[in-house]
Amino acid sequence: MPGDVTAGAEAPRDPAASAAEPAGLLSEMRLLRRRTRADRHAYWFPLVLFGVLICASAPLYLQRPIPAHAGFGQVITAAGPSAPLLSDFNGLLLNSYLPYYWLTALVVGLLLTLLWYRRHARQVGLATPARGYLITGAVVTLLAILVPPLSNVPALHWLHVLWPGDLFIRGTFPFLIIGAALCVLAWAERSVGLAATAVIYTGAALLASLYDIENVLFRLGWSPNADGGRLAGLPGVLLPALILLAAGVGAFAVQRPRQRPRQHRAAA
């Protein structure tokens, strides 16, 4: 009897029934779990948000024209705040606002995502544990700001072990902070799709941090030096952003139509 509170767990005596009932229950619970998970998924928003935030940072990655007299290995120093992990180490960028931008963008992005998940929980009736995502993003951002100055203090010199090697020299370390947060979000969302996106995006962010992606485009016929080399850093910025935007739009197409009817019913 549906909804019978007293319906208990008498072990069925008929052998056929004894197997059919557990099989039916297991099938039903698997279906329920899949449906609940699909209703709860709302990760299109952080993907699109961080894709847009990375795209918006592109003007800050314009490089200053390379002086004709610059020799191999010459470092051009740029004045700016002391947050080298959120900036570029080489000092090749046209202006020095990158750390301000990323500090603001990361904090705003993480908070907006948390608010988004709260709103989604109210609308759909299922809450995703997104706090781990927020904490991961906030802690790594804080470390990126605090580790460089603190490791200069003699007593805290050991903090140099936390410097991320060559990962920050192109100014793309914030992309990796986003990648770490998305990996934690994929675990909270229990989503294979988001996990795959986070892995592919993090791979692209690592590539952009360790390799000059414009070299690939150069081989395909694009000359980054056509504009005095100003655009040379953009492929490394736009590739991770496009991955997030494409995955976010795809997730939106899947998640939005599924959740809309339920929201209308809840509003009614």
Partner: protein, 117 residues
């Protein structure tokens, strides 16, 4: 004449039904635990709709699970609108896992394929 040593009786493997908890085995209560295990917390309205239950029936099932320490019911307001959230406890998660293990073992013993897997 020496008496031959009697072999020790081997303990028989427990039937999987021994792992079934009556509180959890009921279809709708199993459904409540399955849904709440998938989320940080689930809204009363969502559970009612997903399981096709009346509010009264869902309340009674929730009371049974709450008394057994398997879920926590949080009542509050969003603006002026009352809202009830249900959260699974560690005990509830363990009971759900044990129930699903027992069901899987029963299916394995009797060889009935599970549909929709």
């Amino acid at each position: 004449m020496t008496a031959a040593a009697e072999p020790e009786p081997q303990p028989r493997e427990l039937h999987p039904t021994n792992g079934i908890d009556e509180t959890v085995h009921q279809r709708h209560r199993l459904g409540i635990l399955t849904i709440t295990a998938e989320a940080q917390r689930a809204d009363f309205g969502y559970l009612r709709e997903a399981l096709g239950l009346t509010p009264g029936n869902l309340s009674r099932h929730l009371t049974v699970l709450e008394d057994a320490g398997m879920v926590q019911v949080e009542k509050g307001y969003e603006g002026r609108r009352p809202r009830t959230w249900v959260r699974i406890t560690g005990e509830g998660r363990a009971a759900l896992a044990a129930e699903l293990r027992a069901l899987t073992e029963l299916v394995r013993r009797h060889g009935t394929p599970v549909h929709g897997s």
